[in-house]
């Protein structure tokens, strides 16, 4: 199911083909040495990047730098990059990476440290205003080398910039909630009760649309509940605590949400869950902000105008997801300076707003505060608020996570579909995770 298509975004800009060289004088000075360069970038098939591609022609027009986009389904994109980054000369000048790839790429020394670009007066835009970038995202997606290795801290440094980052929010059907006089759940208890109450009130309708498919998706859904309920995968000494009380509670929450869903919800990925909500099969949807714009798109959604948004409900604390994508320059890229200029431009105030207006996820606080954006997407204010609670330590971003994630996800699927005992299942995950961590040397200093 690879969504591979090469789009020469530059070709879309009518003005470029003939005008780029002639117009070199019109190009602002910082971009002039690079006018006429063609950058190859690797983006995922994702609503934010679809929006970004609509804005790319504007970049070409302003700078004379052409951009060729290779767009792939995001897990396939990661596979492709793994191979690309080990080559001597890479094909990609700029890559988008899933947040958990940060660990692998930085650990293998495959991404450019961005300090030397921000230090270069010829490249760095003095009006960039880095303080306006959403801090939780920058820490989670861009910084590595601080606390626990993957978190920010005094020893951390910047490898990427958030672009298409996301947090989790609760979407709900205003019409259904009004019809039955329901209150939007603020806490986990209320959420879980409501999730199973809705199928009784509206026969045939599921409570809360959630991912649950075996593997990564089930694990992701579990993490959505684990963090607010006060749990975690590891403690500060890397000992697995996924099987503690909070872990069991989170797994039970996931199971009860799936049990109160529609038929076949045990195999949902994020797109299936979103599609089911858009078709009106569910009363609530708890996942990334990235899907919000699609619910208001009349070609695919039957719930246009009936979706309200609220913060991710609170357990023992508020802790919504940090995830999504960032952009970085590979060590083996061939046009690093021009790639930095594109990266800086894409995450600038101007472009961030343009992309957000096309339905992308803002990377900047100022964009969320923009009146024009709030008028077009009324939920922007709620999303901006949700970001305050985004938890940078939402999942361990370490090289062994891929394996632990898959094991956790298959075990959860067994809990959901095969009635495996929750405690027993999670105990198994903890035991196997400890072995994986031990082998990777996380207990060397103990």
């Amino acid at each position: 199911m690879t969504l591979t298509f090469k789009t020469c975004a530059a070709a879309l800009a009518a003005s470029v083909s003939l005008g780029s060289i002639a117009a070199a004088q019109d190009v602002p000075a910082p971009y002039q040495p690079y006018a006429g360069t063609t950058l190859v970038v690797n983006f995922p098939a994702h609503p934010h990047y679809n929006a970004a591609m609509k804005v790319l022609p504007e970049f070409t027009e302003q700078t004379g730098i052409e951009v060729e986009v290779d767009q792939l389904q995001y897990l396939k994109m990661r596979e492709r990059q793994t191979l690309e980054l080990t080559k001597d000369e890479g094909d990609y000048d700029l890559i988008s990476y899933v947040v958990f790839s940060k660990a692998d790429y930085v650990f293998a020394d495959q991404l450019e440290n961005l300090a030397r670009y921000f230090m270069n007066p010829k490249l760095a835009d003095p009006n960039y205003d880095a303080a306006d970038l959403i801090d939780g995202y920058v820490q989670n997606i861009g910084v590595a080398g601080g606390q626990k290795g993957y978190l920010p801290g005094p020893t951390g440094s910047l490898y990427g910039i958030p672009f298409g980052s996301e947090t989790s929010v609760l979407g709900y059907r205003t019409d259904i909630f009004e019809k039955h006089g329901l209150e939007v759940p603020e806490t986990y208890d209320a959420l879980l009760e409501l999730a199973c109450q809705i199928p009784e009130l509206e026969p045939g309708m599921g409570g809360l649309a959630s991912r649950a498919a075996s593997g990564h998706q089930a694990s992701h859904a579990f993490l959505l509940h684990l963090n607010p309920l006060g749990g975690g995968i590891f403690d500060d000494a890397w000992e697995p605590i996924v099987n503690n009380e909070a872990g069991v509670e989170a797994a039970n929450a996931l199971k009860s949400i799936v049990d109160c869903g529609i038929e076949g919800s045990q195999t949902f990925g994020p797109s299936e869950a979103a599609a089911a909500f858009a078709q009106g099969d569910y009363a609530m949807f708890l996942d990334s902000i990235a899907f919000a714009a699609t619910f208001e798109d009349e070609t695919n959604s039957q719930v246009v105008g009936n979706v309200g948004w609220a913060l991710h409900p609170e357990g023992v604390k508020r802790a919504s997801q940090t995830g999504g994508f960032g952009i970085a320059i590979p060590k083996n890229a061939q046009n690093k300076e021009a790639a930095f200029l594109l990266m800086q431009w894409l995450t600038s105030k101007e472009a961030d707003l343009m992309i957000a207006m096309e339905g992308g996820n803002p990377s900047r606080f100022s964009t969320y505060e923009n009146a024009e954006l709030n008028a077009k997407y009324p939920y922007a204010a709620t999303f901006g608020e949700a970001l305050q609670y985004a938890d940078p330590d939402w999942r361990p971003i370490i090289p062994t996570w891929g394996k632990i994630n898959a094991d956790l996800g298959t075990t959860l699927s067994q809990i959901i579909t095969e009635d495996l005992d929750v405690q027993e299942g999670l105990d198994g995950v903890a035991e196997r995770s400890r072995a994986i961590m031990d082998e990777a040397g996380y207990y060397t200093w103990n």
């Binding site: 075996s214 593997g215 038929e263 076949g264 891929g402 699927s413 067994q414």
Partner: protein, 305 residues
């Protein structure tokens, strides 16, 4: 002297291109895989940077419950699909081995499923198995039965992938069996008829034994293929729910891309290779034994005469 040497070397000279191709195209990749299976190698490293870990990957795999389960699923899957496909395929061939009007069109229709790209087969079946809009559940509900969790329950998901595989690959057995049937010596069949054999007896004692060499090779080919099937299951269930449909080739793919352990993936591939080799050798030995037995019987019969 020189001519003699040249004469002796000639055959090798002619064989050399084939030998070189064989070494480059077959032995090198296999050797590479065997070498990789002794490494702790993640895809962000070059192979030269990977650490040598000896037999650790193999030992770990033997102790890995998920791998053992996946191995079990693979063997169960292969055994069931090959048996079903053999029975159905040979049955169909026996049924259609006659001069029917439009037979060539029918035959083409029968082999259509195996001409479709596996990804498409997976997608097609996925939509047919869809819990609410899929044709199966809609039909079941229309005739008043309760719907079936085709892909969302472990047992059913396993059944569902078997159904899809049988649908796709029965035609393969069918066309090979049909070809075998049509090339059987008519004299033997005629002789059996003159001796008064019923159609069933003809099939059981004449046709099937004569087809046996072809059937064994066909079954072997299918078996090897069944152990390696990936795309259809990848699209249908991606191994889930739980590990219920995670066959070995899927686990190998996930180990390489998701877990990023190329060495372990190579070790798994070697286990699969060993399993297939054992099967192939067993089949070969069986064929040899059957041949020897037939020769002995023939010799005994000749002596008696």
């Amino acid at each position: 002297m020189k001519t003699a040497l040249a004469n002796r070397m000639t055959p090798y000279l002619f064989l050399a291109p084939a030998g070189i191709v064989l070494v480059a195209a077959l032995l090198y990749p296999i050797g590479y895989m065997i070498y990789a299976s002794f490494l702790d190698w993640n895809p962000s490293q070059r192979i030269g940077e990977a650490d040598w870990v000896g037999l650790r990957n193999y030992v770990n795999l033997l102790g890995d419950a998920a791998f053992r389960e996946s191995f079990g699923v693979t063997i169960k899957f292969a055994a069931i699909v090959v048996t079903l496909e053999m029975v159905l395929g040979v049955g169909l061939a026996l049924l259609l081995d006659r001069n029917l009007r439009g037979m060539s069109i029918l035959r083409t229709l029968f082999i259509l499923p195996m001409m479709i790209a596996p990804i498409v087969v997976g997608l097609m079946w996925r939509y047919m198995y869809h819990p609410t809009v899929g044709i199966f559940n809609r039909t079941l509900e229309n005739i008043g039965l309760s719907s079936v969790p085709w892909l969302s329950d472990g047992g059913w998901a396993f059944t569902s992938i078997i159904i899809a595989d049988v649908w796709q690959w029965t035609p393969f057995i069918f066309i090979l069996s049909l070809a075998a049937l049509q090339s059987l010596p008519q004299s033997a069949i005629e002789a059996s008829r003159i001796d008064g054999a019923s159609p069933w007896q003809t099939i059981l004692y004449v046709k099937l034994p004569l087809m046996m060499p072809v059937l064994i090779v066909t079954a072997l080919l299918r078996l090897i293929d069944a152990f390696k099937v990936l795309e259809v299951i990848l699209v249908l269930t991606n191994g889930g729910p739980g590990l219920s449909t995670e066959i070995l080739s899927l686990r190998i793919a996930r180990t390489a891309s998701e877990f990023r352990e190329l060495g372990v993936a190579a070790a798994m591939s070697n286990f699969l290779l060993i399993l297939l080799l054992v099967l192939t050798v067993a089949m070969y030995l069986y064929g040899k034994a059957a041949e020897l037995r037939a020769a002995r019987l023939r010799a005994a019969a000749e002596e008696a005469a």
